[in-house]
Symmetry: C2
Subunit: 345 residues, 2 copies
């Protein structure tokens, strides 16, 4: 099938292990050139905006109607997965080609630099403008929820907001041999209690997560009781209420960080209806990672995301990232139906 051949062709760029198309690299440019060629072959009108985003339009007969976009990004993390980004672009191309020219202009978009803070979609909504009437992004889930639910497709209801903060705990350095257990102020023991309290607080709030990913111990001697420990906390939740509730529960500053973004009800409903029409029960879930759809939604473009089931426990940003061919084809069908629904005049 053409979509799989093309996914493989993008995945092979740069050689080596996994996807290697870092933002701004020759690999990302090569991917844009390939997709641009495929868009032109299929009769799309190709625009490269001033942020080097790629927009391929299938012009409609009624330029008065707002455009409808589908897409994602083509850059990757180093040694990334095969589907993260390209699936949304190539799935959009398949779906729009199947629909063919009509009254409304349909477009397939590939944003730049999603993995480095969505720089392409941010530039588009900020300086460039000319935004569509709606945007749908097909993406691999990058998590285990669809796999656990036994469901191939899901619809994203919100992009979680997050706050990243650093905690420093101060104890008292001491000699590991000469300081009795009842006379210690061990910063690592206190940090261990905090790490577990953070986990427990996050477990108590639905759809919220908190992660301690970096932790450093000072002075860091085998025979020295730790005098201070610093660690990072990454806290996420689908709305500000839950985000602040979790931040407060673990003693962090509230009201800060990146705001959660709720997806547009009309576009979400269109995705749900499309999934249901394929005899799949659509699972609603928040996206724990940021996406270009979140940037467009925050800028007022009615947006939603269609998630396809990750296998291998949801591993992502890794060559082990995987979805089945069957699920991918089902996702393209759902995307096609979503665009037909939203694009109907």
């Amino acid at each position: 099938m053409r979509i799989f051949e093309r996914l493989d062709e993008l995945y092979a760029i740069g050689g080596g292990q996994g996807a290697n198309r870092r933002s701004g690299s020759a690999g990302e440019q090569r991917a844009h050139d390939l997709v641009s060629g495929w868009l032109e072959e299929a009769g799309f009108e190709v625009e490269r905006d001033s942020a080097a985003n790629l927009i391929g339009r299938l012009r409609g007969t009624r330029p008065d109607l707002p455009e409808l976009w589908a897409g994602s990004h083509l850059d990757s993390v180093p040694e990334g997965g095969r589907l993260d980004g390209p699936l949304g672009v190539l799935g959009g191309l398949e779906a729009v080609e199947r629909i063919g020219p009509g009254e409304r202009t349909l477009a397939v978009v590939a944003f730049r630099g999603e993995e480095v803070g969505c720089i392409g979609s941010r530039a588009r909504v900020a300086e460039i403008g000319e935004l569509p009437g709606a945007f749908v992004e097909l993406h691999i889930e990058q998590g285990p929820r669809l796999e656990h639910a036994g469901v191939p497709l899901g619809v994203v209801t919100a992009i979680v907001g997050y706050s990243r903060q650093t905690v420093t705990i101060t104890g008292r350095v001491g000699h590991a041999g000469t300081t009795p257990m009842d006379n210690r102020d061990d910063a690592l023991c206190e940090a261990a209690e905090r790490v577990l309290a953070i986990r427990n607080a996050a477990r108590a709030i639905p759809e919220a997560v908190a992660t301690v990913g970096v932790l450093t111990v000072a002075p860091g001697g085998v025979n020295v009781i730790p005098g201070s420990v610093s660690f990072t906390v990454d806290v996420r939740a689908p709305d500000r209420g839950r985000l602040d509730r979790l931040l407060a529960a673990i003693g962090l500053e509230t009201g800060v960080g990146v705001e959660p973004t709720v997806m547009d009800a009309t576009v979400v409903d269109a995705v749900k209806a499309a999934i249901a029409s394929l005899d799949v029960t659509p699972l609603e879930l928040p996206s724990g990672a940021g996406h270009d759809a979140g940037i467009l939604a925050a800028a007022g473009v009615p947006s939603a995301m269609l998630f396809v089931r990750s296998l291998n426990g949801g591993v992502s940003h890794s060559p082990a990232e995987h979805s089945s061919d069957e699920d991918i084809l089902l996702a393209v069908d759902a995307l096609e139906r979503t665009l037909r629904d939203l694009g109907s005049v």
Copy 2:
């Protein structure tokens, strides 16, 4: 007082912050040269053995009697304390000078490189030989127990044995945003539970301690669930039974590490009697750190240690290490009485 002037003179070597007489450095050599001069001034016969240990003898009239040694070391950790080592050497010199020549040969010894694994005393007991009939080491406690008990002097009953082991915990790397809390195998959370379990196990065994001083998290990304954590555990106890009990309780290998060394009952009793004669109730305690007295004891030399109270919570290996002048003078008195008792024919 002369002992304080001399402590200050040794402390000033190398300039800068704290004591700076690392093993093998010009600072350690300078300290040996100074003490050698003071020994000669006082009429001691000075030996430098093949490991560069310094032994100053006040010859007795009966060379058939085993020698009696007092002493410690002159090297320091970088930016160390004023008393750790020199107190035992200079205290020994004061005490032996006061006793003066008699039937038994008394000696003051300064071992090399105590802070780097007791290399001087190890060389003496291993290759060099010519060991005394008994050895008494006066040393600052380097811990808070005498301070907490409100007692200026203590006698060491054992040098704790210890085992240092490394634990590696393997979890599963995951995306901090997309992996729900109930689907994580977070190596840091498991490590935090282990750190607290280690603390609790050590608390349950009298005189035992366990310390996690080094802990590293991989891959160590703010937004990445830790996939593995390695940490060190330093476990100590005054006898093999308690050491193995604690090692087993925290899931570590038993029967390994450095054996505890029990001090000689006769020498311990002499120290206790000397302390008691000064109207101080002698506190018996294990030493959580290694000392030259432990090396001599393990080699069969009847040995014990006299501890003087640390102030400032027992801080050591730091310029904040401190004992009061009053306690130091009391300790020299106790050492003198101990040597008189042990040296009496």
